[in-house]
C-alpha cells in the first residue's frame, strides 16, 4: 500500500450535515454577504418537517459531488465518445464543443457546447452529464439548467464574458464546479456558491505539472491556516475577500469544506494516481483521453488507477493497459506565452 502524501490532512471527522448546516447559518448571519448580493437566494432555512419533495437545497447541491468522489469525469465532444466514457466506468461526462487542446489550437471565442449534442448525450448515456459555461455567463448557465444538465463547470477553458465577476451560483438549483489555483480563489468560488472545486492546471497541454502545483499550493495554504491565530485568519479572510467563518471552518477541517477534484493536463493512469495521492477527491480528464490514440483502453485504465491509487499492483496494471507512444503529444508550458495561459482567467 502506498501511504497518502503529506499533503493529505489528518482529517477531522465532521458529518456532511454539519457542513450543510454551516452554510445555512452563514447565509442567515452574514449581512455583509447580502449587501454583496451573495447568498441572497438561499437564506431561508428548511422547515422542521419537509412533507413535499423540496428541490435545489444545499444538501442536494453539495451532495451530488460526494458521489463523484474516487471517480473520473471525462471530457467528450459527441455521443460516441460519451458511450466510450460510460463503458470505461467514468462517473460523469463533460460535454464540450472542442477538447481543450483544440480550443488552444483554434483560437477565437470558445463558447458553451451545442445544445443538440448535449441533449443527445443526455438521452444516450445513464451517468451524469456536465457542461461548461463561460465565466460570468448567467444565460449559458440558465440554458443548461433549463435543459437539465446535472452539473455546470464555470470554466476558464472557455472565453470569459466577465473579467471581474463569476456567476452567483446560489441562484441556481443545480450544482456548479469552479477551477482554482490557490486557496483564496477556491474559497471565493465557494462563497459564490460552488458545490465543487477543481484545480485549474493548464488545460489542453497533456502536462500535469500545473495541476500538481495548484493542488500543492491549495493543500499548503490550508495547512498554514491551521497554524494561524484567530487574528491572522481574520486578516487572511480579508485578503481573500471571503467570510471569516469560511476560513475558520477550512482551517478546522484541514481541507476544503466541499469536494475537490484535480484537473488540467492529466493524460495517463500514473498522472491520475499522482493527483489522488496528493489529496484530490477525484479526477477530470480533458484532452488526455480523446486526444490519445487509445481512448477506450486509456479511459478504463485511468478509472482503475484513480480508484486504486494507493495500490502499486493496480496502478502498474493500469499503466500497462496504455502505450506511451499513444499518449497525447502534449505542450511544454514554458513554451506558452503569458496570454496563452488559461489558468489566469477569472481569479
Amino acid at each position: 500500500m502506498i501511504k497518502p502524501s503529506s499533503y493529505h490532512s489528518g482529517l477531522v471527522d465532521v458529518g456532511f450535515n454539519e457542513i450543510v448546516e454551516f452554510f445555512y447559518r452563514l447565509a442567515e448571519a452574514t449581512d455583509k454577504l447580502k449587501e454583496e448580493g451573495l447568498f441572497s437566494y438561499q437564506t431561508s432555512p428548511l422547515p422542521e418537517r419537509i412533507t413535499i419533495p423540496t428541490r435545489g437545497t444545499i444538501s442536494v447541491k453539495l451532495g451530488f459531488p460526494v458521489y463523484q468522489k474516487g471517480g473520473v469525469v471525462m471530457d467528450v465532444t459527441n455521443v460516441e465518445q460519451a458511450e466510450i466514457a460510460e463503458d470505461a466506468g467514468a462517473v460523469a461526462v463533460m460535454v464540450l464543443d472542442k477538447l481543450p487542446y483544440d480550443v488552444r489550437r483554434s483560437g477565437g471565442v470558445a463558447r458553451m457546447a451545442d445544445i443538440k449534442i448535449i441533449e443527445e448525450v443526455m438521452e444516450t448515456i445513464t451517468i451524469p452529464v456536465m457542461a461548461k459555461v463561460r465565466i460570468g455567463h448567467y444565460m449559458e448557465a440558465k440554458i443548461l439548467e433549463q435543459i437539465g444538465v446535472d452539473m455546470i463547470d464555470e470554466s476558464e477553458v472557455l472565453t470569459p464574458v466577465d473579467e471581474k465577476h463569476h456567476i452567483n451560483k446560489w441562484m441556481f438549483n443545480i450544482p456548479f464546479i469552479n477551477g482554482a489555483r490557490e486557496l483564496g480563489e477556491a474559497l471565493r468560488r465557494i462563497t459564490e456558491g460552488a458545490a465543487m472545486i477543481r484545480t485549474k492546471g493548464e488545460a489542453g497541454t497533456g502536462n500535469v505539472a500545473e495541476a500538481v502545483r495548484h493542488m500543492k499550493i491549495i493543500m499548503k495554504d490550508i495547512k498554514l491556516l491551521g497554524r494561524m491565530s484567530e487574528e491572522e485568519r481574520l486578516r487572511k479572510a480579508r485578503e481573500y475577500g471571503v467570510p471569516y467563518q469560511l476560513v475558520d471552518l477550512t482551517a478546522k477541517l484541514g481541507r476544503l469544506p466541499i469536494v475537490n477534484f484535480a484537473a488540467g493536463g492529466i493524460a495517463t493512469p500514473a498522472d491520475a494516481a499522482l493527483m489522488m495521492w496528493l489529496g484530490a477527491d477525484g479526477i477530470f480528464v480533458g484532452s488526455g483521453i480523446f486526444k490519445s490514440q487509445d481512448p477506450p483502453e486509456r479511459a478504463t485504465a485511468i478509472v482503475l488507477a484513480t480508484s486504486m491509487w494507493n495500490d502499486p499492483e493496480y496502478i502498474a496494471e493500469a499503466q500497462r493497459m496504455i502505450s506511451e507512444q499513444k499518449s497525447m503529444m502534449g505542450i511544454d508550458i514554458k513554451q506558452l506565452k503569458p496570454e496563452e495561459l488559461l489558468q489566469t482567467r477569472g481569479v
Binding site: G15, V60, V91
Partner: protein
C-alpha cells in the same frame, strides 16, 4: 468488535465511515468501519455497506478487482448489508433504466429503476417514515435517486413517499439486507446505521 466493511471503490465512502463511528457511539457498541478494496479486506467482516456513487463505475471496478463475486458470496451467507442509492442498485436482481449491461451483485428480490425521479435538477429532500425505525420521521436526501418498482419472495417495502400523488417505494428489506433510495449518511441521523450494527451483533 463489530467490523463494518464499507466497499471503498468509489463514491460516498467517508460519509458512511463517519456515520458508523457515530452510530457505534450512540448505541455504545464496539464497532469500527473498515474500507474494503480487495478481497482479503473482506476477512472477518460482520456487516457490509455498499455506498452511493455511480453504480456503473462501482460495478465495473468491483468486477475488475474480483471483489464482486466475493461480496456476493458473503452477503448470501447472511452478512447484514446496507446499500444506499447506487448500493441499492447493485444489490437488486432486476434493473431498469440502464444502457446495455452493467456488472451487479444481484442479491435482493427487488426491481430497481435507476434515476427514477429524473436528473440532478429533480433531486430532492423529504421526510419519510420507515417501518423498522422508531422515533421522528427520517430525512431522506434523494440524489438522482433510484426507486423500488417491484418486490417478490422475501423482499418488501419498508418506506414509501408520495410524489405527485403517486406512492413510490424507497426502502427495501429482505432478511438481513436493507436498501435505500436515499442517503442516510448525509443526514447525521444514525438510526439506519445503528440498525445495521444491531443486526450484525445478533
Amino acid at each position: 468488535m463489530i467490523r463494518v466493511g464499507i466497499i471503498a471503490l468509489q463514491g460516498g465512502v467517508a460519509e458512511h465511515q463517519h456515520m458508523v463511528k457515530l452510530a457505534a457511539e450512540k448505541i455504545k457498541t464496539q464497532a469500527e468501519p473498515v474500507f474494503v478494496r480487495k478481497d482479503n479486506d473482506l476477512k472477518n467482516i460482520d456487516a457490509i455497506i455498499v455506498p452511493g456513487g455511480e453504480s456503473t463505475t462501482m460495478g465495473i471496478l468491483a468486477k475488475r478487482t474480483g471483489l464482486l463475486d466475493k461480496i456476493k458470496e458473503i452477503i448470501l451467507d447472511g452478512t447484514p448489508t446496507l446499500g444506499t442509492c447506487a448500493g441499492a442498485i447493485l444489490m437488486a436482481k432486476k434493473l431498469l433504466g440502464i444502457r446495455g449491461k452493467q456488472p451487479m451483485l444481484r442479491v435482493m428480490d427487488v426491481e430497481v429503476h435507476r434515476n427514477y425521479f429524473g436528473r440532478q435538477r429533480e433531486s430532492f429532500e423529504i421526510d419519510l417514515n420507515i417501518d423498522f425505525l422508531e422515533g421522528p420521521p427520517f430525512r431522506g436526501i434523494f440524489i438522482r435517486a433510484p426507486a423500488f418498482t417491484d418486490f417478490w419472495n422475501g423482499a418488501k417495502s419498508a418506506a414509501s413517499i408520495s410524489v405527485d400523488g403517486k406512492k413510490v417505494d424507497v426502502v427495501a428489506i429482505e432478511e438481513s439486507m436493507i436498501a435505500t433510495s436515499f442517503h442516510p449518511e448525509l443526514t447525521g441521523d444514525t438510526r439506519i446505521h445503528e440498525y445495521l450494527i444491531k443486526l450484525a451483533k445478533k
